[in-house]
Subunit: 134 residues, 2 copies
């Protein structure tokens, strides 16, 4: 059994974040030592690592909770996972698209921005009527 510090090191989840996950009921409460400290089994650490990996992939906590309940059932129904992953993928693609458009807008706005000029053309066009992003 491992204290929270070791669990944090092994899972890559910040100590404060582990306690937060526990408070929020995202991961189950671990046992405690005689002195009141949390003690984690390797399985519990594996769960923390799983959560971190999902977070790294950008999944929101609510989806991760679904994943966790699916892994608890031994029937790890792949269809549902696939659907959730595809929806997430769509969101990621949408974000990429938005950011790419944004980058273009920003590039064209700052293109005429030459150092040393007073009356910055970028600020000017953002102040003027007529320009509209989004």
């Amino acid at each position: 059994m491992f204290t929270i510090g070791k669990a944090s090191g092994q899972s890559g989840v910040n100590i404060e974040t582990i306690r937060y996950y526990e408070r929020e009921g995202i991961v189950p409460k671990p046992g405690r030592s005689a002195g009141g400290r949390r003690l984690y089994s390797t399985d519990e650490i594996a769960t923390l690592r799983f959560v971190r990996r999902c977070r790294d992939l950008g999944f929101p906590i609510s989806i991760i909770q679904t994943f966790l309940s699916l892994t608890e059932q031994d029937d790890r129904s792949c269809g549902e996972v696939k659907t959730l992953a595809e929806n997430h993928l769509d969101e990621i693609n949408a974000k990429i698209k938005t950011l790419t458009r944004l980058r273009e807008a920003l590039l064209s706005l700052s293109a005429n921005c030459d150092d040393g000029t007073a009356a910055c053309p970028m600020l000017n066009s953002l102040m003027r009527d007529g320009f509209s992003e989004k």
Copy 2:
């Protein structure tokens, strides 16, 4: 002079958001009518519109405050704007890169996910040791 509803409509900034900007000192406090209602001049509405456009471009409020103080000085020092815009552009590019990597990771993880299979390979590889994203 316009009430907050008109100012919201003309600037594209939500009413609640306008009040939030005022509370936070992001835009100056407008005058009030006899009955205590906020009254906005066209200039003040232009400022709100400017803030919205910058937000649409993804600039954080702190940077927008710098922009606003630069536009108040009539010397709209272009160099500083350009630098801030370039830094922001770098951040956008970094986000796009991260999201693209994420998309690839997600695609390869869900590739073997066939409907109907028990023991989803995506959940399995996220549970297993050895896999690491980021």
